[in-house]
Symmetry: C2
Subunit: 251 residues, 2 copies
DNA sequence: TTTATCCGTTAACGCCGTTTACCGAAGCAT
DNA sequence: ATGCTTCGGTAAACGGCGTTAACGGATAAA
């Protein structure tokens, strides 16, 4: 049973986050200020300390919220494609990641840009998704491999130092799922770095000076990643078979 | 002939930059403040407006300075290797880029992180190096290709949309150097994105949660980029024939 | 009904960027 | 040497910021 106080408090927290998000979108990350948020809510700034210990804490909460939303967005895009089209699902999820970043540059910056001095992600929660959407991508890659059995680097072809690192990572994240070779985790790391580089460069405006539209390069790189796995290139974007928009219940 | 006034002014500008750099390294990008800089110099904040129109302008000048230094660092690392060892030179330059980023995280963040709302690089100077160190990397890749003639994507294998973008980029940067195929520019873009992704993820701390040391992955990706071009893997780091103490990596 | 907890207030401290007005000293032309 | 201009600094002030402290009213709990 939720008491009245708890409900009120929860609503206030939501309102704070909404106001904070408005300022973020309107004026960038540096535009988030306790005083401005409080002003928006018809309150005074010190009142916000009843809800967050500091501005940094409030921002950390925002980041966690966005991480959840980006995961939901990616999962929703993945589920646009039929369950059998594993590479189509992976491609659409990747595209959704890019689009979210470009549509939410300030938010993306907070999550994937340089952290403020003195911040570290919650981590260490040995749960099933310690890296959030990262796990979503890995699951898709693992499913794809289990069906297609595309070649992955043999353990001996991975430098020992990297092998140790990957092994440690796999164990820490519970990715030592039955029969997953280390080479697949190696490919996952490479793919994630590539996706991050593409999207971050574009979102941060560091690709503008060479290409005025990042979409062609993104699609070409996406296709390249698939063909380098021995898979056929994914269909062009936006090929959901049944055009019904809302068909995902759980996310 | 430089007048006395000019010399004094130049010295003051240098002192401002030095103070600003100290604060950047000590307290991160947000630690740069006109008042703190002025305090360091035994001045008052408004005096700085005689040298920079605003704090953003001062920061922009810092960025330009760092861009030059990172270019010099990369070139110096490249020149550690003998002129004939083209892939060794490319590898050492790439490693130097990573090391500079890890040794100068706040500075790297200013250059390659999300720009403050309202900033765009000088650009449009049709000179020989519109992208600074970017041109350094491209030149190395082009030299390597002209000798080794490793395979590059044929024009027909590049999606038309990307082809147009790359062509526009090549022309704008004067990269339509005799006989350079478009496929090489395609590879350059891919390689740069990959290098950026690797280094930025690590510098921003987004790789810490999966690997506690980024060096093995970096070396593995570097080797992979060379072998995927049909070249032998580069020698391990720190193989400059004449012993010059420059790099260490492993944590 | 009393008591404690929550949730807001006002006031203040010390930061910050920036603008304005002012002023002495350095440079320059006559 | 004189006068004038430009340069490079000052102090004062405005509005913004995060944060802390003291306080008070409403609400829940005993």
């Amino acid at each position: 049973m939720t008491t009245r106080r708890e409900r009120m408090r929860e609503a206030t927290v939501r309102e704070i986050q909404e106001a904070a998000r408005r300022h973020l979108r309107a004026h960038g990350p540096s535009g988030i200020s306790l005083r401005a948020i409080a002003r928006d809510m018809g309150m005074t700034a010190p009142a916000l300390y009843r809800y967050y210990a500091s501005l940094d804490d409030l921002i950390a909460a925002m980041i966690e919220g966005y991480k959840g939303e980006i995961r939901e967005t990616v999962e929703a895009a993945r589920d646009t494609m039929p369950a059998e089209d594993l590479s189509g699902r992976l491609a659409e999820a990747s595209r959704a990641f890019r689009h979210w970043a470009l549509d939410h540059r300030p938010e993306f910056t907070m999550i994937f840009g340089a952290p403020l001095p003195g911040y570290e992600p919650p981590a260490k929660d040995g749960g099933p998704s310690p890296m959030g959407f990262g796990a979503v991508f890995f699951t898709m890659l693992a499913d794809l491999w289990e069906r297609e059995r595309f070649p992955v680097p043999a353990d001996e072809d991975i430098p020992p130092a990297l092998r140790d690192q990957l092994l440690h990572f796999a164990k820490a994240c519970g990715l030592d799922r039955a029969g997953i070779p280390l080479g697949l985790i190696r490919l996952y790391a490479a793919a994630w770095v590539r996706l991050y580089g593409l999207v971050a460069m574009e979102a941060f405006g560091h690709v503008k000076f060479m290409l005025d539209d990042g979409a062609p390069l993104f699609e070409a790189e996406l296709a390249d990643m698939f063909t380098s796995l021995g898979l056929e290139s994914p269909a062009p974007p936006g090929h959901s078979p049944s055009a019904s928009a809302a068909q995902n219940a759980d996310s």
